[in-house]
């Protein structure tokens, strides 16, 4: 046993209570941690402006002008909430949502590192995994409501300031087919009404409505023709709900991927650029290119899986059909139709969940092992 006697210049230290030992081993973030991380993101003025302008801006501007013009001169300007306006907005909305979500995710995943706060947080002794996981609800609490607000605005204007859907579609030759039929329901209707079916879709091809043609007169082509006409109508409410939920999924996936990738690289700009490139360039290529021996590889891209999971209402808007097709992507020339065969639903879910879980794990691992 050694003794050190040392001369110090201080008066005897006053006894002080020992700090209570707190176990902060839980990997689950606390509410306080989530709310402060949310505050940290909300206070980023530029980022929040971008979120609101890019997500909420297009419908506000478009519908604002349409409502204004219609109110001023209803004889020249039709109702604001037409199906075409809804289509125009829903076309880029998933892309914008994904890109904004990736940007916010990248910011959330890197901001502590770039601002020098990460080491402060690590020194608190709080579980690094909890520090990472707190960012997920914190970021989603910003993005999901904004996307919900945007989509609700679109739905409200379409539903209450638009033209109500007719009960049936009238073809030029006088045949009326009920709206909102699924493919099987459509085939059932054709079987039940053979005469009207022949009048509406004469065998051997022909031109029916507004230049929509069916070359072979096959059943599938007839349904495509029906969908092409139906897409000029407002989507039914149940489809709107599905579209809304799907948009929230797109945003949520984008955020988690951005967060995980950002935590991995530690660089916000690199993360944002790479993920936008993946979504805007790689995903459309994988959507269109039918590579026989790489088909399953193509399907592993989350953008492809998300596109295939999109609701039928959006599919028809985008000009697809059947079992689902990709959305229009920027620069695709409009109306791009996917050529890869549709994925089973379980595979879509598997890929999407895999990306969410995978990037969460990668991000958490990097946060836990990174030098602070």
């Amino acid at each position: 046993m050694s003794t050190i006697e040392t001369v110090v210049r201080r008066p005897a230290p006053a006894p002080r209570p020992t700090s209570p030992l707190r176990r902060m081993t839980s990997a689950l973030p606390t509410w306080g941690l989530i709310s402060t991380k949310n505050l940290e993101l909300r206070r980023r003025r530029g980022l929040m402006v971008a979120v609101f302008v890019l997500l909420l801006g297009p419908p506000v501007i478009l519908y604002g002008f349409r409502l204004l013009f219609h109110a001023v001169d209803p004889s020249h300007y039709g109702p604001a909430g037409t199906a075409s306006a809804f289509q125009d907005l829903m076309g880029p909305m998933p892309e914008l949502g994904f890109i904004i979500a990736v940007t916010v995710g990248a910011a959330a995943g890197t901001t502590d590192l770039t601002d020098g706060m990460f080491r402060h947080l690590v020194i608190t002794g709080r579980s690094r995994i909890a520090l990472f996981l707190a960012r997920i609800p914190a970021g989603l609490a910003i993005l999901l409501p904004v996307m919900a607000l945007t989509f609700t605005l679109c739905c409200l204007v379409t539903s209450f300031e638009g033209v109500p859907n007719p009960p049936s579609i009238s073809f030029d030759n006088g045949v009326s087919i009920p709206v909102g039929l699924s493919e099987s329901q459509f085939h059932g209707w054709l079987d039940d009404h053979p005469r009207e079916a022949l009048q509406a879709f004469p065998r051997g091809g022909g031109e029916f409505v507004d230049g929509v043609s069916v070359a072979s007169g096959s059943t599938a082509s007839r349904y495509d023709a029906y969908i092409d006409v139906e897409r000029t109508l407002n989507p039914p409410i149940n489809e709107m709900v599905k579209i809304g939920l799907w948009l929230e999924l797109v945003v949520g996936v984008g955020f988690v991927v951005g967060l995980g990738f950002g935590a991995l690289t530690g660089q916000r700009t690199v993360t944002t650029i790479v993920l936008i490139a993946v979504q805007v360039i790689v995903t459309p290529i994988f959507d269109r290119a039918h590579i026989a021996y790489f088909l399953n590889g193509q399907r592993l891209l989350v953008g492809v899986a998300l596109d295939q999971l999109q609701p039928a209402g959006l599919t028809s808007i985008a000009g697809g059909g059947g079992g689902g097709g990709p959305l229009q992507h920027f620069g695709s020339g409009g109306g791009t139709v996917g050529t890869i065969p549709p994925m089973p639903t379980w595979a879509m879910i598997f890929v999407i969940v895999g990306w969410i879980v995978g990037w969460s794990v990668i991000g958490a691992w990097r946060m836990a092992t990174r030098d602070a």
Partner: protein, 413 residues
């Protein structure tokens, strides 16, 4: 299928490019990090990245070794009572007897701690003992590995070897328990600049949990930042950021504060405030470990100090112990014939060392020498016929000593 083949080339090449790009990026980052760590930690690498030639370390005498590692050296109770660098008032002088492992233990204890960045050892086999309830200076030139040691202690980076404990709690095994009682500033204090000081503290308090949230306002009051607490940190001066960093430390109501270069960027008034703050922490019974390359500040602020160079602790002990070494006494002799005086003294065997100086001689008397020995030395010179004009005990500052000990001799400060 010509179209498919064409499309195959597009995504295939794109994928390969992405993978190769990612690989190159990660590799370059890793290399850059290694270089950065090496440079920051040891300063051994030049622009080419090749290790510089190692400078010989000062040989540690057995006495000094006992100071550096009394436990390892199996030293007898060491009692050194020389005049402190700043003379205390009698009321302020006290003696702490610290029985290792029996009473309070150490605030920081490391054995063989090593941290390498590639081939560079930023922290090299460090044996460090920081007594509780004191201000302890971790002193070394830039690039000596001070920050790396602190980062390793706090679990910000992993050690390559050795053991360490904070407040008798082994880390990293029980790191979270240890850090719950530790506050630290590492490097310059940086915060979210778009948040206010109060919000930044709120973020850290949420991470700490418990009563930390209630300590935000008292901490801000303690460091004098209440007035500016609701201003964005981006508008803070360096001194205010340092104070905010201290406030962040206080959220833990820490028993141990580790402050990395706390005087950096502060003006004289700010340095004075920081010094007073550190003293007040110690008076409250907290341990404050200050890393610095500012000798004067460490000498003024700290009770004990460890000198680090090239990642190694070359000395540690109280400032008095270090300045006066192992009790050796330096005497400056002004005389008529320095050469003859040197010969006389060397022949007598009285001195541990004799060196010629501008005004005469500098004689180093062995450990345990007293003022009587100075008188005897003077008598000897006079008896041998050397004209002695003056004899004066040499004043040694920590700076003199530091420059002697470290191999850089103040090269890069």
């Amino acid at each position: 299928m010509p179209s498919t083949a064409n499309l195959l080339h597009g995504p295939g090449i794109l994928l390969i490019l992405l993978l190769v790009g990612a690989g190159v990026y990660l590799l370059r980052r890793r290399r850059a990090k290694d270089h950065e760590g090496g440079d920051r930690g040891t300063g051994h690498t030049g622009s080419s990245g090749a290790p510089r030639e190692q400078t010989d370390m000062t040989v540690i005498s057995p006495e000094s070794q006992a100071i550096a590692d009394p436990v390892a050296a199996g030293a007898e109770p060491l009692s050194v009572r020389s005049e402190p660098a700043v003379a205390p008032s009698p009321a302020q002088t006290r003696t702490i007897s610290l029985r290792v492992g029996e009473r309070d233990g150490w605030a920081v204890e490391t054995h063989g701690l090593t941290k390498r960045f590639g081939t560079n050892a930023a922290v090299d086999d460090v044996e460090l003992l920081v007594p509780r309830g004191s201000a302890f200076g971790y002193l070394g030139p830039n690039g000596a590995g001070k920050t790396t040691l602190i980062r390793t202690l706090l679990g910000l980076t992993k050690a390559n070897g050795g053991t360490m404990a904070l407040l008798d709690t082994p880390v990293p095994i029980e790191r979270r328990e240890a850090l719950a009682r530790v506050g630290a500033i590492v490097d310059e204090p940086r915060f979210h600049e778009h948040l206010t000081g109060r919000e930044n503290l709120g973020l850290l308090a949420a991470a700490r949990g418990g009563e930390a949230k209630q300590r935000i306002v008292p901490s801000l009051q303690r460091v004098g930042l209440v007035e500016r607490a609701d201003h964005k940190v981006g508008s803070y001066s360096m001194g205010m950021r340092q104070r905010l960093g201290v406030a962040a430390c206080l959220l833990a109501d820490p028993e141990l504060l580790i402050l990395d270069e706390p005087m950096n960027g502060l003006d004289p008034a700010g340095m004075h405030e920081m010094r007073e703050m550190i003293e007040s922490f110690v008076e409250e019974g907290r341990t404050v470990m200050v890393s610095s390359h500012l000798l004067d500040e460490v000498e003024r602020t700290c009770d004990a100090v460890a000198i680090v160079d090239h990642g190694r602790v070359v000395r540690q002990g109280t400032i008095d112990e270090l300045v006066h070494g192992s009790g050796a006494l330096a005497v400056s002799v002004e005389c008529g014939d320095p050469g003859m005086a040197q010969e006389v003294i060397e022949r007598s065997g009285m001195a541990a060392g004799v060196a010629l100086s501008d005004s005469g001689l500098t004689v180093t008397l062995p450990a345990g020498s007293s003022r009587d020995d100075i008188a005897q030395l003077t008598r000897l010179l006079v008896e041998e016929g050397v004209a002695v004009y003056g004899v004066q005990q040499a004043q040694t500052s920590l700076e003199d000593w530091f420059l002697t000990v470290t191999s850089r001799l103040g090269g890069d400060g």
